[in-house]
Amino acid sequence: MSTTAFTLPAAHSNSIARTLRIFLTEARFEFVRLLRTRAFSLAVIGFPVIFYLFFGLIMNRGEHVGSVSVAKYMLGSYAVFGMVGAALFGIGGGLASEFSTGWLELKRASPMPPLAYLVAKCCSAAAFGLVIVSILTLMAISIAHVSITLPEYAQMMALTLVGTIPFACLGMVIALLVPFNATPGVINMVYLPMSFCGGLWMPIMLLPHWLQKFALILPTYHLSQLVLGCFGYTTAGSPISHWLGLIGFTLVMLGVAAIAYRRLEQNS
């Protein structure tokens, strides 16, 4: 490894270092930008916190269904609700606005590697996801005395990072297809029904049978089942089927985004 580094021409290794620095700078300032945009940061952190407080902690105080603590079960699903919101609004909202104002075009004309832009958006959304899930976990531990082991927390964090990707792709598709002014509305129209039908607000078993079938095509369902699985709850379907569900959804979204992007490019 070190020998290859030595044999690289100085200019080349400089450019690798510069590229790496560009990726880091883009990600850092995208996160800072989102944090400073109160309309985003307050809503995206506030909603899951308030929802979890009401529905997970206050309404079901100390309740257990069988051996399942409701507060802990709800932590899993509201964590998914939170990270999905961060991904959809962070990427969908940001991309739509920068696309419509011509900022993205200026970035594309610059020597910035295009991937740095997307990676920065994805990482910032994931970082928000981590913050939201950590806050919810702290609430669960301090208010409802839910016991969460370190491995459980670590798995939840890992799922937040990976789980951002399918929703980032969905956000990208919305940004590319929907006129800028309509983006926040359309994101909500997708986000809220998808959360309900995916079993994020109430356990999937309590939904009508036909909705449970419909949930199979929803990434929210698959991701929440994976999170609940890492808490040791019995889930509908095997982990493999949920991973396949998420990967399939991601691929479909990437395909749609590619087609939409090509169509826009040809007419711009």
Binding site: F29, V32, R33, E98, S100, W103, L106, M112, N267
Partner: protein, 319 residues
């Protein structure tokens, strides 16, 4: 003095005519069938400021997008520094200022500038950029808090961040007050003086007149005329109907003479009555004036002007 300098610069271009950027025989047809560029060729040389003029929808921004490698031509070739404009190495040598509705508003001017400086291996020192773009004192403001003119200046700084050899400026001085506009003009001139090439699109004909070594007028996707400001003006005058166009002058006065009499005066090509003022174009202004003053003893409010670039532009792009 400046005319002499311009002349000297004009000579150096033709001598060292290495093409910095070129569009050759470009046709661009969008997927919706709109023909934006129609066999357009354009070459930019080292150290020159070229203004691209044309009415809305003439194909200016399409041409600029092709040069920036943001879009591919239907046919023809685009070369920048003898390479593909889409290559990352080409982009390291170009800087762009586009008409951006909104840059991310919650980042400070300083942060925006440093993000862009980070894209280049040898960026312009931060303090120099801030001075060149006139951003002293507003570096800590969020982009969203800037006035229209300040935003333009911040975007100008981003275009110059990498010390590029070729700069595209799309309507750079929109929203600037007169002082700021002159300041930006001075910066643009100093870029050219350092051997950089500047391609400017503008709606302010005055700006093209003041800055550009060469003006390219395009309409309906074609180059309809190309030359120095003086050449474009005289071409426009020729289109407007003057034969020996170099000496064309516009004479304004208040006179009672009928149109037929005016047209009979030697040198007069056109005459028009605009809110009580008669506007006469003449290719032999001295002769015309002598005759005119002899014919109408009561003539008053006399003005004699050279045709403006605007007149030439309108003459060239009408029909």
């Amino acid at each position: 003095m400046s005319a002499v300098l311009d002349h000297i610069q004009a000579i150096t271009f033709t001598a060292s005519s290495a093409a910095v950027a070129s569009l050759s025989h470009i046709t661009k047809r969008y997927a919706n069938g709109v023909l934006a560029l129609d066999d357009l060729s354009l070459t930019l040389h080292r150290g020159e400021i070229v203004a691209l003029l044309g009415p809305n929808g003439a194909g200016k921004s399409t041409a600029v997008k092709l040069l920036m490698g943001l879009s591919a031509p239907t046919s023809g070739t685009v070369r920048i520094f003898d390479a593909d404009p889409r290559h990352a190495t080409t982009r390291l040598r170009t800087g762009v200022m586009l008409q951006v509705g909104k840059a991310p508003e919650m980042l400070r001017v300083r942060e925006h500038i440093n993000i862009f400086r980070g894209y280049y291996p040898a960026p312009v020192p931060y303090a120099d950029l801030v001075r060149a773009a006139g951003l002293e004192g507003i570096e800590s403001r969020m982009f969203g808090q800037l006035s229209g003119g300040q935003k333009q200046r911040a975007l100008f700084a981003l275009a110059l961040a990498g010390d590029p050899d070729l700069v595209f400026l799309d309507e750079p001085t929109v929203g600037l007050d007169i002082e700021a506009r002159r300041g930006m003009w001075a910066e643009i001139r100093s870029l050219a003086a350092r051997g950089k090439t500047v391609l400017l699109t503008t709606h302010y004909l005055e700006e093209a007149d003041a800055l550009a070594h060469r003006i390219v007028v395009i309409n309906k996707g074609r180059v309809i005329c190309e030359g120095t400001a003086a050449e474009v003006k005289s071409l426009g005058a020729a289109t407007a109907g003057a034969s020996t166009s170099r000496t064309l002058k516009i004479i304004r006065c208040v006179t009672d003479l009928p149109k037929a009499t005016l047209l009979a005066i030697p040198g007069v090509t056109t005459t028009e009555l605009k809110v009580g003022v008669t506007v006469i174009s003449s290719t032999e202004p001295e002769r015309t004036l002598r005759e005119l003053l002899a014919l109408d003893q009561n003539l008053h409010s006399l003005e004699v002007q050279s045709p403006a670039l605007e007149d030439a532009f309108l003459a060239l792009t009408s029909n």
